[in-house]
Symmetry: none
Subunit: 219 residues, 4 copies
Amino acid sequence: MAEALRNQSPDQTLAESRRRQIFLAACRVLARKSFHEASVKELALEAGIATGSIYLYLHSKDEILVLIAESMVGELVEQLPAIRARSGGDPRRELIEMMSTIIDVIDRYRDAFNVLHHEGRYLERRTEYKQAIVRASDPYRSAVADVLRRGRQAGVIHFFDALSAVHIIHMLCAGWAMHGLSLRGIEKETYKREVTAILEGRFFAPASRNRNGNGAAHR
Amino acid sequence: MAEALRNQSPDQTLAESRRRQIFLAACRVLARKSFHEASVKELALEAGIATGSIYLYLHSKDEILVLIAESMVGELVEQLPAIRARSGGDPRRELIEMMSTIIDVIDRYRDAFNVLHHEGRYLERRTEYKQAIVRASDPYRSAVADVLRRGRQAGVIHFFDALSAVHIIHMLCAGWAMHGLSLRGIEKETYKREVTAILEGRFFAPASRNRNGNGAAHR
Amino acid sequence: MAEALRNQSPDQTLAESRRRQIFLAACRVLARKSFHEASVKELALEAGIATGSIYLYLHSKDEILVLIAESMVGELVEQLPAIRARSGGDPRRELIEMMSTIIDVIDRYRDAFNVLHHEGRYLERRTEYKQAIVRASDPYRSAVADVLRRGRQAGVIHFFDALSAVHIIHMLCAGWAMHGLSLRGIEKETYKREVTAILEGRFFAPASRNRNGNGAAHR
Amino acid sequence: MAEALRNQSPDQTLAESRRRQIFLAACRVLARKSFHEASVKELALEAGIATGSIYLYLHSKDEILVLIAESMVGELVEQLPAIRARSGGDPRRELIEMMSTIIDVIDRYRDAFNVLHHEGRYLERRTEYKQAIVRASDPYRSAVADVLRRGRQAGVIHFFDALSAVHIIHMLCAGWAMHGLSLRGIEKETYKREVTAILEGRFFAPASRNRNGNGAAHR
DNA sequence: TATGAATGAGTTTTCATTCAT
DNA sequence: CATGAATGAAAACTCATTCAT
């Protein structure tokens, strides 16, 4: 790593490490309170820096949302090559594995993810942030879209509309983070298995087979 | 209508109609700004009443979230008997129709729904609101859980874990409201068709057919 | 006065009286500290209202400057008809009397005037305030410009450029408020007499009389 | 120049040159924003040094005001001997020439002058700065007072009170810097001519000549 | 019931100044 | 001498809530 940093100015390194510090602090604080309940003062305190120091690394409180997007997408993207390698060329397997990884990342930063998911919608409407948000989340959207496209080309994934399909995949992953009391106590692996089964077509019994009365869950 | 109200005290009638006024005003305001950007003053103005009058019908600003939950769930529940009647006894058809209706309601109050979905999580943590939120959303959760249970009993719907399944169904519906820029321009019906196809098992090609390279989308 | 207010809504009356309260408080506070040293909190406290209440009657702290301009110009304008009546139709006398009154008003709100004079320059550069400042000070500028114009027409006041002349008259009045330590102890009437003498042409001895060595001050 | 500096320690030379750098930077910045809007960071940046380095040459931000006073008065004082020489012994001519030079200096550093003129009043009240401000501006005050005194002795300049007279002369010069929108477009020379004419007694027509209806501007 | 002026705690953000390097 | 990251106090402004009318 020392090697990787050799090309960066010390300032850039410092800034990056401080931004990481702030991101992790935000995740901890957002587990306790909403974005609007959490004051900059509290975020800074949790990050171990002075209130004003936040503004050396961020232009505004709202930019924390951009920081969250960048950090989470970054962690996902890092793992994409390994996922692809593991999938043995089957886009279906690649999609399932990718979703599993997405759920893992979302689970790791669950509360920050929820905040980003909701508040990001308002940020997108403001011209100053729109570009930053889109740029930050693009690698994620693209990766999912790409697997789906390859799956369709190979004839193993079927969908009508690519944008809708990407969004639905996203919602199935996001779902893990978004339950309130209703999913309390469910294991993450249970959730993953359920989602996988749906995508693999085991949710509804086939109409033709219905008469057989084959009621065994998930053949 | 005068007849329908005859059993209620005049006070309850007025209160109900004012709450409806406030709910509809909140929907309009929340289309423009987030819950925290929208002030009570603005909500009252939009509802055509004085700032202070809000507190005659609501205990606090946060209670607007409870009001939103009650109003939306109420509108869904009204239609459940008709859906059931239309489904001809097939829980699969009933589920698809129910989801279509849920998406319609969510679409009608899209912004209020998003706010409720996000902020509700924080409300649930506060003991004063927990009960109210759960009570308000229970008819919705129950209705979905019930169809799934009947579908499983009939052997036509398969899932491992009931809570997860209910939640996933919810997320697939909620997904329609939660897209930001990414789904701009997609028709609601396109989205519904995509979701239905996934539940009906047409998303992944069956493993056996994979080798054939059958690339036709959605057989 | 009760009669004069009969046409105004109570709200307008309340707002006007609160604005007067704030203006007078600002004058007192600005005698102690500069505009930037004086916080809104302190201004409100001095006016006997809560911090936030300032914003019920003013859009921003900067609008206090507009309020000062309006209040001071208002007090001057009230007296213009009487001055004119007293002047017996001689624009020279009218100008001298008008300047005396201006100096009196400036003296009454000396510190507020200094602040307005300085900070107003920055306010003028901001489009949101430019119009308000110009509108507020226009009656003052116009009144001075008008006397000068009439004096020139009557052949009793001589100047090259009207704008410069108005500004110089203003500076001679403003001068009374702007001394720091240097004029400490001088009487206002002494200052007025000095200014009057200059305008009446007694400052420089006429070139022809120079040789006489007539050193008597102000023949 | 190397010769001229031979007597100074190298430190003083560096400090002097840095202070000049800072003064000129302040003039540029104060043309854009007020003293309170201009941050030390911006002043340092404009001067081409680091933020913290300002404090090697100045004890505080407020001391910039003292620096401005010293620098401007210094530039005026340099030219006093030449003015005196040119005036041929007539204090009236000397005063007019001195005012012309003062207006030139003020015009050169117009924005810095305005800031000094206003903020200086608050600095004078603080014991730590009072002496410095008085010491810095004294050569200016004294020079004007001296010409007036000589003019009075020679019987060619008439005034009642010396302090008032000095202040009025100052205000007439300062006036050039202090116009806002009202004097936009007026030439400096027009302004000087107007001021000179007033001091030379051509502003009001003599009472005796009034009847003649002599309306020619400035005989 | 209805109003909306009043409150003051709490928010985000800025910035003069310090000090380790 | 020079730097600029770090500090934390203080500022302007907002707004949920109350209450006299």
